[in-house]
């Protein structure tokens, strides 16, 4: 089942058109990876899903992105509630300048969860889901900046999970991590898709092949090819897709 559909999406940074008539389904409880050479628009597309582009003046969307049949590009959508339905994990870890506990509780407190027991319960649950609980349970009061890079990235995932989003958007979230931390995050993504839908931008072909169920290849702002990951990597329809996934270009 498709949780989201992108329908004839055009996106403009001022006059520059960065996305050209993109059509793409996002299947529920699956991992969809967006791949393509630098500047192809994959991050731009990802940032359309939670309307991050609205933070900067001059950006413009055309077309439609539906989330459960609701057009999230329409003007009257409430961005604050939209962004609590679609969490985002960035390229570099972004721990907030506060304790581990307060980091995870941040989104809950935004949503007026004040009861101490409820907060503690949901913080623990989120940290367990992100496979970080055992490492930080004795240092919940410590500043999150003291965690390692891989732990910080799982902290950000836990922070996102705490508000129970429907979708998590990963923006090259392992590119700044060492191989072991990367592996942990990948395992986590596979585990998490039971509960949430994942869209991941990645530069790493092997990662896309390992973890994702569906893969979309983008080039110069257009969607070149979309399909289940196995066929994209073994029987691509386009010659360019084959060259890209085999590392001959990009």
């Amino acid at each position: 089942m498709d949780l989201m559909t992108v329908d004839k999406l055009n996106f403009f940074y001022g006059r520059h058109q960065a996305l050209k008539s993109v059509n793409l389904p996002i299947r529920k409880n699956a991992i969809t990876s967006l791949i393509g050479p630098s500047g192809c628009g994959k991050t731009t597309l990802l940032r359309c899903f939670n309307r991050m582009h609205d933070l900067y003046p001059g950006n413009r969307y055309e077309g439609r992105i539906s989330l459960r049949d609701q057009n999230i590009l329409s003007g009257d959508i409430d961005l604050i509630s939209l962004r609590s339905r679609l969490g985002m994990v960035f390229q570099k870890p972004t721990p907030f300048p506060m304790s581990v506990f307060d980091n995870i509780a941040y989104g809950l407190r935004l949503r007026k969860v004040k009861n101490k027991n409820a907060l503690a319960e949901r913080v623990e649950k989120a940290l367990k889901q992100a496979a970080l609980w055992d490492e930080v349970k004795d240092r919940l009061g410590d500043n999150a900046a003291g965690l390692s890079g891989g732990q910080q990235q799982r902290l950000v995932i836990a922070r996102t999970l705490a508000v129970e989003p429907e979708v998590i958007l990963f923006d090259e979230s392992t590119s700044a991590l060492d191989p072991i931390s990367t592996q942990k995050i990948e395992e986590l993504m596979v585990e998490l898709k039971k509960e949430v839908t994942i869209v991941a931008v990645t530069h790493n072909m092997q990662q896309a092949a390992r973890v994702s169920d569906y893969t979309a290849l983008m080039y110069l702002g257009e969607l070149m090819e979309y399909g289940d990951t196995k066929s994209i990597f073994t029987r691509p329809k386009h010659k360019m897709t084959e060259e890209y996934v085999s590392g001959r270009f990009g």
Binding site: M52, G87, F90, K92, T94, F96, R111, R159, V163
Partner: protein, 281 residues
């Protein structure tokens, strides 16, 4: 290659001149500090902080208690006026107004305002807060000091906030936080140390000011917790006592100058140390 020799000579000449000038500047600075230290230490005792001025004929019995209290009250009030306006102004420049031309203009004007002579600010405040009311008053003094620190705090806040990476704000926005929560919970928290240091250095800047107070709160012998009349001021007292013909008043001025110098030095050292520690950490 033929030109190498004259170039080297010019280089040596300029370097010698620059070194000499730096040495001259430092030398004068040390003479002033040494003089304040020598005369101040000789004259300082507890009475300086505990008593009010005695008539010049009673040698060694007076102090500047009221002047210390008055200076403290003026500085505190100035900070209470200037810090919130400055921090919020700097926040506007770095956040809400960051793409606007007016922000750039305010930023540049603030840089210029930092170097306005403080006596000009004193005269300006005299015109709007002393002249119309017919008497020197503490509010005018506090406002004059607040006007002096305002551009410093605006610019420090702007710079410190700009140092907070955008990725951190985006992460908070992505959690569904509205802008004011992002600023309050994330940006201020990251920039707090830097803003605090800026406030400290700004207060150090006004703690030793005399000129803006001469025209505004002037001076008084008696401290009251009331800013509607003249307020005793340490720096103005130093100015008046140092120029008096009485030996014990002059030595009191030295002692007070010593205390003010130490206080300003202390604030500056704490402020710069904080900057250094943060850059390392």
């Amino acid at each position: 290659m033929r030109h190498l020799k004259p170039r080297k000579a010019v280089n040596a000449l300029i370097m010698t001149l620059a070194t000499l000038c730096a040495a001259l500047g430092l030398f004068l600075l040390f003479i002033i500090l040494f003089d304040v230290l020598r005369n101040g230490l000789k004259a300082i005792d507890w009475n300086l902080f505990l008593r009010d001025p005695a008539p010049p004929t009673m040698a060694g019995a007076g102090g500047l208690k009221s002047a210390f209290l008055g200076q403290g009250l003026l500085t505190l009030t100035a900070a209470l006026i200037g810090v919130p306006i400055g921090v919020l102004g700097g926040t506007y420049l770095a956040e809400y107004g960051r793409h606007k031309k007016i922000s750039r203009a305010i930023s540049i004007l603030s840089d210029i305002a930092v170097s306005i002579p403080s006596i000009v600010i004193g005269a300006f405040v005299y015109a709007i807060l002393v002249n119309p009311f017919g008497s020197y008053n503490g509010w005018a003094g506090a406002v004059a000091l607040a006007v002096i620190i305002l551009p410093i705090i605006i610019r420090t806040t702007e710079d410190m906030i700009n140092m907070v990476p955008w990725a951190l704000r985006e992460a908070a926005f992505a959690m569904g936080a509205p802008y004011h929560r992002v600023i309050w919970g994330i940006v201020y928290r990251s920039a707090a140390g830097g803003i605090f240091t800026g406030v400290l250095l700004a207060i150090a800047r006004i703690a030793g000011e005399t000129a803006p107070l001469l025209f505004t709160s002037f001076n008084s012998n008696f401290f009251r917790l009331n800013l509607s009349g003249p307020v005793p001021s340490l720096t103005v007292s130093i100015y008046q006592y140092a120029a008096s013909p009485y030996e014990n008043w002059v030595s009191m001025a030295w002692a007070a100058a010593f205390v003010v110098t130490c206080f300003v030095l202390f604030l500056n050292i704490v402020g710069r140390l904080a900057i250094k520690l943060r850059v390392k950490g």
